[in-house]
């Protein structure tokens, strides 16, 4: 059995209360263990930071949407060409990296688990084919449910039992990990070219509201005991003044009873895009303080940043009407892609410019959210890759969070609106290594309910990262070094195997795909299927038999049980 | 010469699809793609009748093919199903796009007095020979 000892590093394992202690991490058989045999492979981590492997809970890395991004942007790929290596495949990078390069680059930063945040059910096979071609990392995908015909129908009928059966069935059929909701009701209305405005807007043809969709799915999510909460992209994304919608949305989930041990009931994604104050893009300012105040007072909410990175990127969301707006604002090329009965998507290239006042404010809002939310366990670092910017910029975000000087230097190089319309300049908070570990692995793993991930306690998955930075000597003024250390891990260990050494990929094992096997009682299942099949036959363009994803699409899988199902 | 100028269009047909699933060497396939369609008036103006084939010629090449009448075609438009015969007259230039122009080509149709429609084998042989 392969064994590995990571010796003498400063270990940050917040889930187990380890905060920079010098200790050995021992790995055997793909797990963290107490002892390894003499002769186990050794990594000398002296003077370096050791953390659990990074866990990204919101990224767009696989499926039709990112592939449209890749397809439409040859000019983006030309800037970042990746040659074939000794153990690695060739590909392209920057805003829409090819699958192989996605796996390599996450691993190079010490990440070992990444969640694809939006999987349309009918094209779930596509997501899984791409995930299977994404090497090294473990992964999973969130199934889009917020505009699904059956969701809307059962919400309209007030039939929570059938909704529960549907959610469980769809997670199984798509091999999904969580319930994803994007602009609930808005994407359905977009199928007629319209949108909903706010939480109490009308979802046409159903006569229901986004509020009802969110509360129903949140309730069902918890009753099924799913590992993660609902994963929500709020209504009114990108509309100045939307912070209020966001707060109201969070409040919808306040009275939902969480599953056993978890206290949270809602995760709000890429919150920066939904934390805009002001009335229009000319006077937009930060709504982060208001959002943070709500989050600080309400333990049922988690959020991730959707941090902006300046430069050219490719925006892609399941929010068709928002992408249409973005096309109208920019005149850039626009792809819209509606998915029968279920979902939609849009893709538009976008350049965040440091001299643009609104963009500089957006940059500030992301950082401000991270600094103003007091509980580090409830705010996570993301760029909503590639919407705010490519995930490869995480090390810069880490520097901004851990070094006020890094932020100030950045702010001095951008539009002054960031000083005036956010409170960032007056914020002196700097993340500690431990807090950073929470924001990038421990907190995200906990939010996802991935028990083996995000920590280095006994029995945890043997996923770890060693960074060439000495936490006892590091000063925030040296943020460039920190950035470098987090860009190229000294070692990344995946399932007990060294996959990255000195920032270079040295092995490319296949990571597992995590999905949730959720069940409802058999009677309910039968009753649901009867109803479901009849509509499915009438309205879908594929046969039901050809709809669920087969095992062949998951070369390595980790099944998580919920609702009384066996794993 | 007693030819007429036409705009030549290529495309799929169901017959060709059925034929190609039998095999490219099958009579079903060959018959479905070695004939050009034209409107009755154009056929009449060329004095076509019976089994006499036609020559389809463009700036780029020519081929002898069977013909049939299609009342749906307008005067001056001819239809040639995709296949080895039609491809004898198309240019390989793509104007930097990768796509040759298969539709809307200027061509001349004329009776192929004494001409013979080449077999698939003969077309393949002619490709091979072209290297010398």
């Amino acid at each position: 059995m392969k064994e590995l000892a990571i010796r003498n590093g400063y270990v940050f394992d917040p889930l187990n209360g380890v905060d920079g202690e010098k200790m050995d991490i021992l790995l055997s058989g793909g797990r963290v263990v107490e002892k390894v045999k003499r002769g186990a492979e050794e990594i000398d981590a002296s003077g370096m930071a050791v953390m659990p492997g990074g866990v990204d809970l919101h990224s767009h890395i696989a499926g039709s949407k990112i592939n449209i991004g890749r397809l439409m942007r040859p000019e983006d790929h030309r800037r970042d060409q990746v040659p074939k290596g000794r153990v690695t495949r060739s590909g392209v990078g920057y805003s829409c990296p090819s699958t192989f390069v996605t796996g390599y680059r996450y691993a190079q930063m010490g990440y070992t688990t990444v969640m694809e945040a939006a999987m349309p059910p009918i094209t779930a096979r596509h997501v899984h084919e791409e995930l299977a071609d994404t090497p090294i990392i473990d992964k999973g995908a969130f199934t889009l449910m917020g505009n699904n015909y059956f969701t809307l129908k059962y919400v309209r009928d007030g039939d929570m039992e059938k909704l529960k059966a549907f959610v469980a069935w769809l997670l199984r059929a798509t091999r999904g990990y969580a319930v994803k909701i994007v602009n609930p009701g808005g994407v359905e209305n977009w199928k007629w070219g319209r949108n909903v405005h706010g939480l109490d807007g009308n979802v046409e043809d159903y006569g229901i509201t986004p509020r009802q969709i969110i509360s129903s799915l949140a309730r069902v999510n918890e009753e099924l005991g799913l590992p993660h909460t609902i994963h929500l992209h709020c209504n009114n994304l990108g509309v100045p003044g939307n912070y209020q919608t966001t707060i109201d949305t969070m409040d919808v989930a306040k009275t939902i009873k969480p599953r056993d041990e978890r206290k949270t009931t809602i995760h709000v994604v890429h919150c920066q895009f939904n934390a805009l104050a002001g009335n229009n893009w000319m006077n937009v300012r930060s709504g982060a303080p208001k959002i943070a105040r709500y989050v600080n007072g309400n333990p049922h909410v988690t959020l991730d940043l959707g941090q902006v990175i300046f430069g050219d990127t490719t925006t892609m969301t399941g929010d068709g009407p928002w992408q249409f707006n973005l096309w109208n604002m920019t005149g850039n090329k626009w792809v819209n892609s509606d998915v029968e009965m279920e979902a939609g998507a849009g893709v538009v290239p976008y350049t965040f410019k440091p001299n643009n006042p609104a963009n500089s404010v957006q940059w500030g809002i992301g950082i401000e959210l991270a600094l103003l939310v007091k509980d580090p366990w409830r705010v996570y670092m993301t760029t909503d890759h590639p919407n705010g910017g490519p995930f490869t910029h995480y090390p810069e975000v880490i520097a901004w969070l851990m070094s006020r000087k890094a932020r100030t230097d950045a702010m001095n190089a951008m539009n002054k609106a960031v000083m005036k319309r956010t409170g960032l300049i007056d914020n002196y908070r700097e993340y500690t290594f431990s807090e950073m570990a929470i924001a990038t692995r421990a907190g995200t793993a906990r939010a996802l309910g991935l028990e083996g991930k995000g920590h280095l306690g006994q029995g945890a998955d043997a996923d770890a990262a060693v960074y060439r930075v000495n936490p006892t000597q590091w000063r925030p003024s040296q943020y460039k070094e920190l950035e470098k250390a987090f860009s190229r891990a000294a070692y990344t260990v995946k399932a007990g195997e060294v996959v990255v050494k000195d920032g270079e990929v040295v092995a490319t094992p296949t990571g597992a795909t995590h999905w949730v096997n959720a069940k409802v009682p058999e009677d309910l299942e039968k009753e649901f299927i009867k109803d479901f099949e009849a509509d499915f036959r009438k309205y879908y363009s594929v046969s039901l038999r050809n709809y669920p994803v087969e095992d062949a699409y998951l070369p390595a899988q980790r099944v998580h049980a919920a609702g009384g199902a066996s794993p | 010469m007693n030819g007429i100028e036409v705009t030549l269009i290529s495309g799929r047909t169901a017959r060709q699809g059925i034929g190609l699933e039998e095999g490219k060497t099958s009579q079903g396939y060959i018959k479905s793609v070695n004939e050009v369609s034209l409107c009755p008036e154009d056929a009449a103006s060329l004095g076509l009748s019976g089994d006499e084939p036609v020559t389809v010629a463009t700036e780029h090449g020519s081929v002898v093919a069977h013909w049939r009448v299609d009342k749906g075609l307008a005067r001056g438009t001819a239809f040639f199903p995709y296949g080895p015969w039609a491809n004898q007259v198309y240019a390989s230039s793509t104007d930097g796009t990768g796509m040759p122009q298969f539709k809307g080509i200027r061509a001349t149709l004329s009776p192929a007095a004494g001409g013979k429609v080449p077999s698939l084998q003969e077309i393949v042989e002619s490709m091979r020979r072209a290297e010398h």
Partner: protein, 282 residues
């Protein structure tokens, strides 16, 4: 200027990719070092000397370097790619991507030049004495940034999509152009002295850009609206400059020539102009 002579030899129709043929890459090196520069021949990387004989004098700085490619370079791609200074003269034909993304210096191709010549050019002067291929001075696929500066002059004719997504800079074609000249044009100037190809200015936003069809145009897109016939003063200045400074001798004949002005592409609310010499107007 110090002159280096490059003689291509002994390769087949598999193209040789030699973006190292620039004054920037050569200046300051020894001839031996230049011979050892890497080029790509199909899937293999080889020393340049394997397929190109190099002799002559190397300059210290790119600006003083003259490179003469003496022979058939039709299958050599990327000559002068990205160059910033100095001069390249290709005595015969040049392959694809000649002078693409160049930002300074000048290139003269005595024969014909392949597709994507001067693609995404940023500055400098590129002259083709024969014909140019398709996508002359164009944007590469997917990009909305075509030519953003510099000047291209073609004595012969050019192919399709000349100057696609052009932003700034000047292009002169003394012969005819193929279809879609100035497609998606968003600035810059294109002068065509032969017949202008079909569908010129399609999808052009304008942004100050214009296409002057001095040799007339067979037709103008229906989404270009005729506005006026006039002989603008600025055209006199351009024609003088072309005749006197850029060697387009017959440009002087068009001074004062009445032009029909069309504006479009109305399909996208664009404000580009196509100026068609009265005598060749559709």
């Amino acid at each position: 200027m110090d002159k280096l002579v490059l003689t291509p030899r002994g390769f087949s129709r598999v193209p040789l990719e030699a973006e190292v043929i620039t004054p920037d890459a050569f200046a300051g090196k020894s001839v031996k070092e230049i011979r050892a520069l890497r080029v790509h021949y199909g899937n293999r990387e080889v020393e340049m000397s394997e397929y190109i004989h190099v002799q002559g004098k190397v300059a210290d700085a790119p600006v003083d370097q003259l490179i003469v490619v003496d022979g058939d370079a039709r299958h050599i791609k990327y000559i002068g790619r990205g160059m910033t200074a100095g001069r390249i003269v290709v005595q015969g034909d040049a392959g694809m991507h000649t002078g693409s993304q160049m930002s300074g210096g000048d290139i003269t191709v005595a024969g014909d030049a392949g597709d994507w010549t001067g693609a995404e050019m940023r500055g400098g002067l590129l002259r083709v004495l024969g014909d140019a291929g398709n996508l002359l001075g164009a944007a590469y696929r997917g990009s909305s940034e075509g030519m953003t500066g510099g000047c291209i002059i073609v004595n012969g004719s050019a192919g399709s999509e000349v100057g696609s997504f052009m932003r700034r800079g000047m292009m002169v074609v003394e012969g005819a152009t193929g279809p879609f000249t100035g497609v998606h044009m968003n600035g810059g100037e294109i002068f065509v002295f032969g017949p202008l190809g079909r569908r010129a200015g399609a999808q052009a936003k304008g942004n100050g850009g214009f296409i002057a069809a001095l040799g007339g145009a067979r037709e103008v897109l229906p989404t270009y609206v005729y506005e006026a016939t006039y002989a603008p003063g600025f055209m006199t200045l351009y024609m003088r400059q072309l005749a006197e400074n850029l060697g387009v001798k017959h440009a002087a004949r068009y001074i004062g020539e009445p032009l029909r002005r069309y504006r479009g592409d109305m399909a996208i609310g664009g404000s580009a102009e196509i100026l068609v010499a009265e005598k060749g107007a559709p």
